[in-house]
Symmetry: C2
Subunit: 374 residues, 2 copies
């Protein structure tokens, strides 16, 4: 495929993306839950519109910048899934006053009280979820912790407890269907437990929100859950292939790069995709198959098993030939194209201002903007 | 210091930056060479203007996007220090035709011939340096390689051989003054050797360009060198402190973040600076002192030795308390500020759309834009 792009360039295979979107939405439909995709992966309106068109109900964001950008484009039901802190409340207030149905997250009594105070002071009532810890990997309140009820009690006046939310991020460390199904059940049951404790204490707790790409695709049932969130499934990546929830052939993102030189005695090919184009994410390092800075493919996306992407500088990638001795400069001449499939779609995507959407029937790629920053 | 910023936010200490700039420029003046700073670190006009005001002659860039942005702002002497490939020549041509004195880099006969052909076809004569390999760390032609003269010979018609360029990037792996001085001398002498070979073959070779931050600051003399390039010195970072060419107190960049939660039983503090704010760069991992994802400081920039930044998710940082048992939530309450000094200034900077320049005498930080992408 000859694309006539300046490199490095982030390529998006729309057909694969649509397949990934449909797979997740269908699974959610079968499980009988609402689906609220996490748009931190794409940060792209064109992508989110397609998720919503397939049946997603609202979106999840990782920054208020994302909330602002997607709201400006017409998405009015947004969950900001990082615990809120005081310096972000004025920004949240502006969005709520402009008409956004924003849901915020808390995991401490202090912030629950502060959110309630801020809402009261400004004459609004914020919708709030309590973050629940179901796997010990990061933040949240354990279902049995007395703090859960204290936080709920603090959400009065300018804040309303809407429900509970958890993210079993430790699912990324697993790689068997059994372990993933068990983690999905743990995520579900502990989050439902937290909701039940709150209901027993008199709170309505209408929302029970769970999710990560691996658990969402591994859950056998989601009884008691009202919505699921997942992000990276939309593109997938090598880490997800290592976890076992996709094949490398499902991965919709790659970085187009160009051979800029060779070091024949070392078996090196130098390209113009360094860590600025790939990110420094080495997420496959701890997996069974370590892909270095990404899986090297030819211009059509076919993997070249003998090329290992072991070393990256800012704008240089160094690919190590691991096969039998060949004339690398003849096989991959200066100016020829390669594609690199990323370890982590969220991290690689964040390095680029655009997606170049691969044309399905030839022609020039379309450009879809993505945003960044806070 | 109370800054009233939404977090995470990239802070720039202008006084430290000015000190770093002056130190490098003075050293170059003493060594009697021109200085051409690499602006890939800052990607910021305000920063480059200050480098030029102190005596820099032209700039070095890592992408044609940088060349375009800085040229639009009036910088008209730019070295693009990544070997050129065919898909970038039309872009380079547009810049040259608009009046930019652009110097390009080649390291193969094929590209030398292609650059000359492109220039001839479009009625321009491109200025070209040959990349010389002086330490085996990445790209370039060894001084004694017959290829050096072949490449020079191919630069006729639409291209002109202006000189040679090298970057001793392996200096980043060193950490003693003796080893650094030896590498600086190796970089100098081998690059001068390449120039002499070219001159002996009848080429003028007016430019002999060397540099990396560690070698620039470690060279005892630079006889035969005409210009030095360095980038990260402008801000410095933990990797450079580990190499030994600065103190942590010289580092001008940090990421302001906010405590969003605690996990008391694990000794964890959760912040809103994850890898999106810091980058995934783990450059200190192989150094004597491994800082994880960065050096944790209080809001005034004083290091907190007991807090280790061991774990990062997209918008969450996990800091591990390593000291005696304390009440972490009382000492670092939710909503309180911390600052994280980065491993690698180029990588962390690239995650942010702005620098917030710390006010010298109180008041509100100024915002300096930075650009990204290709």
């Amino acid at each position: 495929m000859e694309l006539n792009l300046e490199t490095p360039a982030l390529l998006l295979d729309e057909a694969r993306m649509q397949h990934n979107m449909a797979r997740m939405q269908e699974r959610m439909n079968v499980l009988g839950v609402a689906f609220r995709p996490h748009v931190k992966t794409s940060k792209c309106l064109e992508v989110a519109r397609r998720q919503l068109a397939l049946g997603a109900r609202g979106i999840t964001v990782s920054t208020l910048k994302e909330a602002e950008q997607f709201f400006a484009a017409g998405v009015d039901d947004i969950l900001y899934a990082v615990a809120i802190v005081p310096n972000k409340l004025d920004h949240a207030l502006r969005l709520v006053r402009a008409g956004l149905r924003l849901t915020m997250l808390v995991e401490s009594s202090a912030m629950a009280a502060e959110v309630a105070r801020h809402g009261r002071e400004h004459g609004v009532c914020y919708d709030v979820l309590i973050e629940v810890d179901t796997d010990g990997h990061r933040s949240g309140i354990a279902p049995a912790d007395p703090l859960l009820l204290d936080v709920a009690a603090a959400l009065t006046g300018g804040a309303r407890l809407k429900g509970v939310m958890t993210h079993a991020g430790s699912s990324y460390d697993l790689h068997t269907p059994e372990a993933l199904a068990a983690m999905a059940e743990q995520e579900r049951s502990r989050c439902v437990d937290a909701a039940e404790r709150l209901r027993a204490a008199g709170h309505a707790c209408e929302v029970v929100s769970v999710g990560s790409t691996p658990t969402a695709l591994s859950a056998r049932h989601l009884d008691g859950v009202t919505e699921v969130r997942a992000g990276v499934y939309v593109f997938f990546d090598l880490v997800m292939a290592g976890v076992g929830v996709c094949e490398t052939g499902d991965i919709a993102l790659s970085v187009l790069c160009t051979v800029i030189g060779h070091r024949p005695l070392d078996g090196w090919i130098i390209t113009d995709a360094g860590w600025m184009a790939m990110s420094r994410d080495r997420g496959t390092q701890k997996q069974v198959r370590d892909y270095g800075y990404g899986m090297v493919c030819d211009a059509d996306g076919n993997a070249i098993a003998e090329l290992a992407f072991n070393q990256a500088n800012q704008e240089h990638g160094v690919l190590q030939w691991t096969g039998d001795i060949v004339d690398l400069a003849a096989r991959y001449p200066v100016g020829s194209s390669l594609r690199i499939v990323p370890n982590h779609a969220c991290a690689t995507g964040a390095q680029h201002p655009f997606y170049y959407v691969l044309p399905q029937e030839g022609g020039v790629p379309r450009k879809w903007e993505r945003f960044s920053g806070w």
